[in-house]
């Protein structure tokens, strides 16, 4: 095995072979963060169910019962729970992933591996939370006696769209955060903006028709609308919404990875 160490070029390649060679480190990072996550907590992984459930209760009281938000003919509790289950994971990856390279500065400074695995590990680790979230959601479906239809088989694709988009954004932000710690200040604000411009608490059908194509540029639109269609039988999202969501998610992921690779050689000198 021969390794050649040279000065970085301005636009380094994708280094996909390097990613494959170091794939085991990705699993180690995921395992480590999962092992640590609920240490010294009383209820442990149940937090992954309690968080969306308690938020669902609050929103159901205020937006469902009091404001009476239109929920496409399904109970608001189920309507909002579907959105919260996926959003909680996306929000977590956005925050954890964007700060991850700086947070793992000790590793970046002491050992070599493709740094892209740091934000990727945040995204993969969140799949465990998502599984618990879906478990809580299933309990709610039993309570309301709702049986998912066939489009539920598209759920993995919809989750993949959301995770690709948020991983792409966290590639951008985690690389920027190495040089500009402003990212950490921006994050809470950005998280809220993204949440309120996604159909989590309200239905995307309230957006005026002429603005719908613009609204669909947010990949969370197809993710949440698609999951509601599959799980609770709300109207099927149009094909344009699918296409826009998939294309934007792919563009975010690829451009984020390019940018990350471009900044990667300077990480250990700056972090």
């Amino acid at each position: 095995m021969k390794t050649l160490i040279r000065p970085p070029t301005r636009w380094p390649g994708l280094a996909l072979r390097e990613l494959w060679r170091y794939r085991s480190i990705c699993m180690v990072l995921v395992r480590r963060s999962l092992m640590v996550r609920y240490r010294q907590t009383a209820v442990g992984a149940a937090w992954a169910m309690l968080q969306p459930l308690s938020l669902m209760l609050v929103f159901t009281v205020f937006f469902g019962a009091l404001v009476k938000v239109q929920s496409e003919g399904i109970p608001y509790a189920v309507f909002v729970m579907i959105g919260l289950t996926i959003w909680q994971v996306v929000g977590k990856v956005l925050n954890e992933g964007s700060l991850s390279v700086v947070a793992n500065g000790a590793l970046v400074n002491k050992i070599y591996f493709p740094r892209a695995y740091i934000p990727i590990a945040s995204a993969l680790g969140s799949l465990v939370d998502l599984a618990f979230g879906f478990l809580a959601l299933s309990a709610l479906l039993v309570v309301f006696q709702i049986i998912p239809g066939w489009p539920i088989v598209l759920a993995p694709l919809l989750v993949a769209i959301a995770l690709a988009a948020v991983t792409g954004v966290s590639f951008w932000l985690s690389a920027m955060n190495v040089t500009y710690r402003d990212v950490a200040q921006l994050l809470p604000f950005l998280t809220q903006m993204w949440m309120f411009s996604s159909p989590i608490l309200y239905s995307s059908s309230i957006i005026p028709a002429q603005f719908q194509p613009l609204y669909w540029l947010n990949p969370m639109a197809i993710t949440v609308d698609g999951l509601r269609w599959g799980i609770a039988g709300t109207p099927a999202p149009p094909i344009e919404e699918w296409l826009e969501g998939i294309i934007v998610a792919a563009v975010l992921l690829c451009s984020g990875y390019f940018f990350f690779r471009h900044r990667e050689p300077g990480f250990s000198d700056t972090v």
Binding site: M1, L4, I25, R32, M35, L107, Y112
Partner: protein, 274 residues
Amino acid sequence: MMTLGEAPAVRVRGLGKQYQIGAAPGSSNLYERIGAFLGQKSRAPRDPHPTIWALRDIDFALSRGQVMGILGRNGSGKSTLMKILARITAPTEGVAEIYGRVGALLEVGTGFHPELTGRENIALSGAILGMDRHDIAKVQDQIIEFSEIGKFLDTPVKYYSSGMFLRLAFSVSIHLEAEILLVDEVLAVGDAAFQLKCQQRIRQAVSEGRTALFVSHNLVSIAALCDSAIVLDQGVLRFNGPTAEAIDVYTREFLGMPSGARGVVTVAAASAPV
């Protein structure tokens, strides 16, 4: 030193690393950057960021099974050289070729997490340093025994004393199976008895035919462990040759000691019980 016909392990040609000093690299104020991007001149013209060469024009080669020491005062570029060879930081110029799997022991406790137990940290840190499951299973008992952690093995390491933590961390590092070892100052852990044990273990690893680059301020261990040594001074290679001569150059030119000091060091090395 490499002679013709020997298999190379590390070959370094014209290696250099330039650092910006003053500000963190690239962290010029965002407003200035936007201004510069728009083609404006910044209102208060400043010096461009001053730079220094932490390392320049470094050439050396190391053949398989050889142990090379790196001598130099603080700031001479030793750690920068190690970081480049470990691929942690990128060189500004030049090339390094490395033949084999590199294990970098630039700090004890790489990948350790305070919330995890000693046993868990052995597994995860080992994996982060590049061991696979079988490697770890093979050496786990040796690591535990070497570290003298005993009954604290299943306690989170955040409750360890600093000495216990260092012993465990070093034990993981030194059992790392790699073809080329980069070792930086990690010997300076634990009490005298544990340090001695560490040196013996490093000698054993080296006598098994491993290639190693070894940075230490301890001239006795350099003399005892290394086949050859290089001397760095302000980023420039000052000497490359037999260990005894390198120590002589280093003690005479940079420590201001008379040439006789070399004798003391080599005698001490010869009589050291390692």
